[in-house]
Structures are given as C-alpha cells and as structure tokens.
Symmetry: C2
Subunit: 214 residues, 2 copies
C-alpha cells in the first residue's frame, strides 16, 4: 500500500512538473509575442491557457482521490496539500502569461513595448520563464532548498519591475499615458508570475520540513 501511495505521489509531482513546463512555455511565447508584436503567437498563448486549467483540474482530482483513498498523515498529507496549492499557483502563472499575450494582441499591429524598454521586458520574460523551469526541477527533486534560490531570483524581477515604473513615471517620458499604463500592468504581470513561483517553492519547503522557510 505504501509503495503504491508513494508511486502516486511521484505521479502527482510529475503532473506538477508538466504544468511548470507549460507555464514556462506560455511565458516564453507571451514574451516573444509581446516583443515581436506577433498576433498569431499571442492568440496561441491565450487559447493554450485552457490546457493548463485542465491540468490543474487533473492534479486536484488526483490529490483529492489520494486523500480520500489513502488518508495520509504528516509529511505525506503536507505533500498532497502542497500539490493542490502548487497546481493553483502554476495555473495562475499561465493566466498571467495569457494577460501578457492579451496585451500584445490588444496593441497589435503596434508594439506594446517601446524600443528603449524592449531589453527590460525581454529580461523580465526570460527570468520569469526560467523561474518556472527551475520550479519544475525543484518539484521533480524534492528536498532541495528551492525557496532561498527562487526568492533571490525574484529580487532581480522586482528590480526590473521597479525600473519600468521609474522609467514610465520619470520626467521626459515621451510615449504618453496609454503606453505607460499598459507597461505598468505588463510589469506587474511578470512580477506576479515570479511571485507565484516563489510561493510554490516556499510551500514545497514547508511540505518537506513542516516549517515555513524564514
């Protein structure tokens, strides 16, 4: 029975790893759609989000049946609750990537990001997608102390987010209010994507140790 149960836990983890890969791809493609003003790609990201919603439903159903059939306790119980929590956050990462794609779609045929902020947003997209990749690795190899690592990466995202806000609200901003508003929200979508990854890593550490990392 315990072997079966642990096999099921491994499978649940694999479902989450697959979700991380989907979120990373959604962010990479959304970022590319944004920077290239690529309407087709933006629409693919938006349409593709349903698959991540469905994957989350699959994780929840699996977790719920494990709880009902196996009545786990202690760290096994924490692991399953962490999986439910993680699935919800990773799904949210997909929503945020879709919001970015939606901005690209709305702006098309114009570019939503002016040339002098392209590098900043390219970096934001790259780091955010890399956090989703890394989160998948951390879920696949439980026990690694991932929170400290992703929290560190998140500081870089926060710094880029601040740079966007400083740029658009600074003196001599030449692109007007509509562009500034759109960039403020875009920066926030990236920042929230990164935040979800950090909060999943925190929850995984809790599942492994029974204590939240400081």
């Amino acid at each position: 029975m315990r072997v079966t149960f642990h096999g099921e836990l491994v499978q649940l983890r694999e479902q989450l790893v697959a979700m991380c890969a989907m979120a990373a791809q959604a962010m990479r493609q959304a970022s590319r759609a944004l920077l290239m003003a690529d309407l087709d790609l933006a629409e693919r990201v938006i349409a593709g989000d349903a698959a991540l919603d469905q994957a989350r439903g699959g994780c929840e159903d699996h977790a719920q049946s494990l709880l009902a059939l196996q009545a786990p306790v202690a760290s096994d119980l924490r692991s399953i609750l962490a999986a439910v929590y993680s699935a919800e956050k990773i799904e949210r990462m997909g929503d945020l990537a879709a919001h970015i794609a939606d901005t690209a779609r709305f702006s098309h045929p114009d570019h939503a990001v002016p040339a002098d902020l392209e590098d900043t947003f390219a970096r934001l997209g790259e780091i955010a997608a890399g956090m989703a990749d890394r989160l998948g690795e951390l879920i696949g190899q439980p026990g690694v102390d991932g929170f400290a690592e992703l929290d560190e990466t998140d500081h870089a995202v926060d710094a880029l987010h601040s740079r966007v806000l400083t740029t658009i609200t600074g003196p001599g901003w030449p692109y007007g209010v509509r562009t500034a508003t759109s960039l403020a929200l875009l920066a926030r979508f990236h920042e929230r994507f990164a935040d979800q990854a950090v909060s999943v890593a925190k929850r995984l550490d809790f599942a492994a140790t029974g204590e939240f990392p400081a």
Copy 2:
C-alpha cells in the same frame, strides 16, 4: 465521531467567516485611507494584514488536522479542501487591500485619486468590501448558490475598472503619467479583490454539489 467532525467543520467555517469580516474591514479602511489621504489609517491597514495572514495559518492548521485525524471523504473532503482554498484567497484579499493602503501611504500628503475619480473609487471600495461581507454570509450559510450572485456583482466592479482605464487613457487626461499609472494599479487591486471573492464562491458551490457552476 461524526457529530464532532461536523462541529469541527462548523468551527472551520466560522474561522473563514471571521477572515471575510477582516478582509471587508481592511478594504473599507483602505478605501477610506485612499480617498481621505489618511496616513494613520493606511498604516493601520498595512500593519493589520499580519492578523489575516495568521488567521489563514490557523485555518490551514485546523483543516490539516481534520484531514489527518478524520480522513473525510466525498463532500466532507471537498468542504475541507474548499476551506483551505478559501483561506488562501481571503488572505490575498487582505494583501490587495494592503496594496491600496500602501498607495495611499506612498502618495501622502497628496491624494492618490483626483477629485473627478473619487466617486468611482469610492464605489469600487464599497462594492468590493460588500462582496467580502456577502462572502462571509455565504460561507456561514452553506448551500446557498453564491457564485451566480457574486459573479453578477463582479460585473459592476469590472465596469468601474474599465471606466478608470478609459478615463486615464482617454484624450485630455490632465493629471500626467504618474497618477494614471497609480490609478491603473489601484483599479486592478480592487478588481482582483472582487475576483478572489467570486472564486471562493465558485469553490463553495463546488464543495456543496461536486460540480463547478457554469
């Protein structure tokens, strides 16, 4: 044993009802702090958010011990998972209220909201706080079909959110980019607060029926 378990479920619900009251109060006070440029009140909301984080931890611990000790199945299991989900969302509502208070604090002694958008933001704050109140009632009286009702109210929030975006990006906006950016984020904080309430209501309907409302 079953009586005790159902007593525990009632107590878990009461914890969530108390969290809704805290979120509603946080939103009301944040909205007031924003519109009155009231620094003391803004700081109280920001400091008070820790209590909601703690209440969420209490709900999770309680839910986890019920899962471990009682091994519930079917609708009881769904109810406990819904409580974990709800606690997380209601805590997020508190975070969003704190973000609004933070904007008020950052702008002080200036008003973050120009006079001609005060009514719109007053309405946003009022509706959002009312949704937290109503969510508490729905949690306290399970079985009521709350999703349709809160989803309907949420349309009013979305309309006000759109009005803010249209106003700040429309021709003749006189207050500059910094104010516009801040208002775009403020409107989003209110909208996300309302979204969390809707998603909790949806989850409660699922817990009651085993099916997500359409």
